[in-house]
């Protein structure tokens, strides 16, 4: 057994290097900035993200592997990298204001955010289970810290602790799954796994099933599917709002990118087996997420349950599979990120110091006191509910078409009925904003150009994807093809 070092091809990971470099520079620069003036760090990290995006552009077009086939540069990974960079940039835009209000404006925030982004990018690019594991842990460990970023606040501590315990617990399952997959196929490289299983290897190997099952459990925790979701509402509620936005939009997409690569690509021959499991998970996740969301009063918690439900819709598309199903997932994740980040931007905007003003009754009459943020919020709520002409509608339309096409009519019916149920709680926000009289006076809201920019981008994206989704659909299709062989 000899070990050969893979050729080092830094060109393949330029965007990741830029993100890492920016994070390190931020940690350095932070030392020289006075305590109350950390805003330049936000611009610095935005610059880094833009540069990373620019560096990823030349990589499009010619799919290749690097580092001995453990990194894959295909449209799939690049689509996700761009998505993560967008999510990170929007999160930074909505963060600065919030961090100042909550008096936790420290440089490490941006560095950790960038490290988390790095982890997500590795998750999308990883072609080897080890790389995926490392990406996932880079992401998770940064997020544990971010969730507990409000050190003085007990809820934030609690959120971090719960996230840490269940995150590590889930990692255990994931790793155990990887171990069994390794035992069954003799490799951790996803391409080799695919080749091995595609060659007509016996698909009844128990290790394979145990491995796939454990991976489903592990990823189930990470994307918060029922019954592995119980951490999500607490963590999302307790974490700082901007971090919650990042987790809801980013980690879900990141975990799904790895999930898709493993299941749609490597374990495709086992689809009849795992799709039956995912069918059940999808139904449970959609239904529980939506039904429990109805009972929520705290808007962060409501959006947390809504995010669980959305994971269910995405699972519908995973079950449906095929080009239509696959590309609909990519489309959905982008739409989902835009509308959730937008909604959280409004939540941050309307919030008050000390994580106050987050309950539904606090939104009474907002539509007349702050018409523009309320209008944006209404658009995001209708989009989340799947009402045209918004991105959320196109996403659901696309997902359910995939289900109908693949013959999963029952699943599609359960899905659309769920989306009717979900309308109930999304509409309640608009009811509060427009149909209730304002409460007693609350403090003024502080806006900033950055927050406004994030809102404009999110609204524009939500409507653009709803009205003219054509080009993005084609891009999503192009991106999913490498996985389907």
């Amino acid at each position: 057994m000899e070990i050969t070092l893979p050729p080092v091809d830094l060109g393949a990971i330029t965007p990741e290097l830029i993100v890492t470099g920016t994070a390190l520079v931020i940690l350095l620069v932070d030392l020289f900035l006075p305590r109350d003036r950390k805003t330049p760090l936000a611009y610095l990290s935005l610059l880094g993200l833009v540069l990373a995006f620019a560096a990823s552009l030349p990589l499009w077009g010619r799919a290749r592997y690097a580092f001995k086939e453990s990194i894959s540069l295909d449209p799939f990974s690049l689509f996700f990298s761009s998505l993560f960079l967008l999510i990170a940039a929007l999160t930074i835009l909505i963060s600065t204001n919030y961090l100042e209000r909550e008096e936790i404006h420290r440089g490490e925030y941006y560095a950790l955010l960038l490290f988390a982004t790095l982890g997500m990018m590795l998750l999308a690019k990883g072609m080897d289970l080890v790389v995926l594991f490392l990406g996932l842990e880079t992401l998770s460990i940064s997020l544990y810290t971010l969730a507990g970023f409000m050190r003085a606040r007990l809820r934030s501590n609690e959120s971090a602790l719960k996230y840490l315990l269940l995150g590590a617990f889930a990692s255990g399952f994931l790793l155990y799954g990887i171990a069994f997959l390794y035992g069954a196929t003799g490799t951790t490289n996803l391409k080799k796994v695919a080749v091995f299983l595609g060659k007509g290897a016996p698909l009844s190997d128990p290790f394979l099933f145990i491995g796939a099952g454990l991976l489903i459990v592990g990823f189930g925790f990470k994307v918060a599917t029922v019954p592995f979701h119980m951490w999500a509402p607490d963590v999302y509620e307790g974490a700082p709002t901007s971090v919650t936005a990042f987790m809801i939009a980013g980690t879900k997409a990141a975990a799904f990118s790895a999930f898709l690569r493993i299941f749609l690509y490597s374990l495709a021959p086992l689809k009849p087996n795992w799709s039956a499991v995912l069918w059940v998970l999808a139904v449970l996740t959609m239904t529980l997420g939506n039904v429990v969301a109805i009972a929520q009063q705290n808007i962060k918690r409501m959006l947390a349950y809504s995010s669980i439900a959305h994971a269910g819709y995405i699972l519908v598309a995973v079950v449906a599979g095929g080009e239509l199903g696959g590309s609909s997932i990519l489309f959905y994740l982008l739409a989902y990120a835009l509308m959730n980040l937008g909604a959280f931007a409004v939540v941050i905007l309307l919030g008050q110091k000390g994580e106050e003003n987050l309950n539904l009754p606090d939104y009474a009459g907002v539509g007349y006191r702050h018409p523009l943020p309320a209008l944006a919020m209404a658009i995001f709520m209708f989009s989340l509910a799947g009402i045209p002409p918004t991105a959320g509608f196109m996403g659901k339309f696309y997902v359910f078409s995939a289900a109908v096409k693949a013959g999963y009519i029952g699943l599609a019916i359960i899905g659309v009925l769920n989306s009717v149920v979900s309308v109930f709680f999304y509409l309640r926000v608009t009811v509060m904003m427009y149909m209730r009289e304002p409460r007693a006076e609350v403090g003024p809201i502080y806006t900033s150009p950055a927050l406004a920019a994030a809102l404009v981008i999110a609204v524009w994206g939500t409507l653009q994807l709803g009205l003219f989704p054509g080009r993005l659909l084609e891009l999503a299709l192009r991106s999913i093809r490498p996985l389907l062989g």
Binding site: K271, P272, S275, A276, W279, V319, A320, G321, G322, E323, L324, G325, S327, Y368, F382, I387, P388, P389, F393, F397, F400, S401, A402, V404, K405, A406, G407, Y408, I409, G410, L411, A412, I413, V416, L417, S419, V420, V423, F424, L427, T430, V431, Y434, M435, F468, P469, G470, L473, E474, L477
Partner: protein, 545 residues
């Protein structure tokens, strides 16, 4: 085919939303300016739509004034608008009632005027789009877009007591139906694609395909028919699905009720005649008894409930249930008279019930109650003009010869009688009950002694209020006395639909059940009925051209 070489349908559709955009830029304090802008744009839309009947070619069943542009090519979605004899009058009804709605809100709406008019105009665009869209995707978008502004109109400006309940109920009921319809649309989209290799949402193309039918309840065509049925039946509303209607109508502001009753309900009946009949002919025939039974129940039940209502607005709401029953009965008589009468009756009902809601609104603005007992009697002495207009509207609603209601109901009865005299006799019972409750309502409020002190100093209608009702009254007489311009323009289209129903699968270009590509059919059929592990080769994007 577009004789005008000019996108007139888009112009009509988007003029209102253009007005909404203009209003967005006005200060919210400038109520008068906002009202005038809304008035100008909705009237402009009406005036432009008046060109349609003049340039309309009544000798062809083809779609006219067609506009077709590619939109989402990857999915086979196009921006496809056009009208035929079926939608022509509904478009005009919409533009007319919307202009009237703006006018009737002039003094009734004093709070949040800006938002109100924005929503009203968006609503108009949505409804017009529904009647013109010939692409299922486009149709569905307009269909859903209608929900949002209507929801706000009821929820914000409705009657405070139960407006939230009514708004959410309205929204959830209709949404429930439409998502099921969406699945139906997807099912025929993929079936058609599987058969022809061309994935498209083009309604006219999808109509050419025969969808597999067997007399079993759960055959493909029946299932899709039922999916569409659910959506449209909730919107109409047909008998067991009607419970949202009284709440929504009663709680909505006057203009909202006018639009709900006048136009929104027609979206349901329009859907039946546009999609269910020609697209799924076998299933439509299969379900005739079912539909007729529900319609007759609606006719009788609606009328009976009217008799015991104490709330004037709720009474009129329930009368809609009854009248829409007539429309559905005529349609499912499946003969020329029935369907023509049904379409004409859609317009008639829009006019007369719209006018009735205006009448209620006028008294509500003055007395702030809708309860018949509280309003009191003898108003005709104090408000003669009002009483006269009310009388005409009421007689139109009853179906007095010489007024519009008569023509529609007569045609429907003839149509029903030709198929089955028992249906017709039930329907006649409904007409008699209808006369009873309307006349009784009129008698209780307009005649008798003027007793209530509040009523002593009531003012009669002012010029603006008269102006809201006069155009409708003119239409009553026009349709009632000289209906042939209306009937002539819908005749060919109606016959075309009936032809499609009659021929059934034989008339379709792409044969369904025993297709040449048997493999594709067989794989699709069982998978539609029950979930199997999916086969998903040939996504729309990778089709060979």
């Amino acid at each position: 085919m577009n004789v005008l070489n000019f996108p007139i349908l888009s112009l009509v559709t988007y003029l209102p939303i253009l007005g909404a955009i203009v209003i967005l830029f006005l200060s919210k304090e400038r109520h008068e300016a906002i009202r005038w802008v809304a008035m100008v744009f909705s009237t402009a839309s009406f005036v432009v739509s008046l060109w349609l009947p003049f340039y309309f070619d009544s000798t062809t069943a083809e779609m006219q004034f067609v506009e077709k542009l590619p939109w989402i090519q990857y999915l086979g979605v196009s921006y496809f608008m056009g009208i035929d004899g079926i939608s022509l009058w509904l478009v005009l009804l919409t533009t007319m009632l919307c202009a009237i709605s703006v006018l009737c809100s002039w003094e009734a709406i004093t709070e949040r005027v800006k938002e109100y008019h924005v929503f009203l105009l968006i609503l108009e665009t949505g409804m017009l789009g529904v009647f013109m869209a010939l692409d299922f995707f486009l149709f569905y978008i307009f269909w859903e877009v209608v929900l949002v502004p209507m929801y706000f109109l009821i929820g914000v400006w409705g009657h405070p007591a139960r407006k939230l309940y009514a708004a959410i109920k309205f929204f959830l009921f209709t949404l429930f139906g439409s998502v099921i319809m969406l699945l139906g649309i997807l099912a025929i989209y993929f079936y058609h694609g599987g058969q022809t290799g061309v994935y498209t949402f083009d309604v006219l193309e999808l109509m050419k395909t025969a969808y597999p039918y067997s007399s079993a309840l759960l055959s493909f065509q029946n299932l899709v028919w039922l999916a569409f049925f659910l959506s449209f039946a909730i919107k109409v509303p047909m008998f067991p699905f009607h419970t949202w209607l009284p709440d929504a109508h009663t709680e909505a502001p006057t203009a909202g009720s006018v639009i709900l009753a006048g136009i929104l309900l027609k979206m349901g009946t329009y859907g039946f005649v546009r999609f269910n009949l020609p697209m799924f002919p076998e299933s439509s025939k299969h379900f005739v008894t079912f539909m007729v039974t529900l319609s007759i129940i609606a006719i009788i039940y609606g009328a009976m409930v009217c008799l015991v209502q104490r709330d004037m607005k709720r009474l009129i709401a329930f009368s809609s249930v009854s009248h829409m029953g007539f429309v559905m009965l005529g349609m499912f008589a499946l003969n020329a008279q029935g369907v023509q009468g049904s379409i004409l009756q859609m317009v008639n009902h829009g006019l007369s019930t719209g006018a009735l809601f205006l009448i209620v609104g006028l008294i509500y603005d003055r007395r702030h109650t809708r309860m018949i007992a509280e309003i009191g009697s003898g108003l005709s002495k104090q408000m003669p003009v009002y009483a006269t207009l009310f009388a005409i509207v009421m007689l139109s609603s009853i179906g007095l010869p010489g007024l519009n209601g008569f023509i529609g109901e007569f045609l429907i009865l003839v149509g029903a009688f030709k198929v089955n005299y028992i249906w017709a006799s039930f329907a006649v019972t409904g007409i008699i009950l209808g006369a009873a409750y309307m006349l009784w309502l009129f008698q209780r409020t307009m005649f008798g002694p003027l007793e209530k002190p509040e009523n002593m100093k009531l003012l009669d209608l002012n010029a603006r209020e008269i102006a809201t009702l006069v155009p409708i009254v003119i239409m009553f007489f026009w349709i009632g006395l000289y209906p042939s311009p209306f009937l002539k323009r819908m005749e060919v289209s109606v016959n075309h639909v009936l032809e499609q129903v009659e021929k059934g699968q034989a008339g379709k270009v792409n044969p369904g059940t025993k297709a040449a590509s048997v493999g594709a059919t067989e794989r699709h059929l069982p998978s539609i009925i029950q979930p199997t592990s999916g086969t998903s080769e040939g996504a729309p994007g990778v089709r060979e051209r």
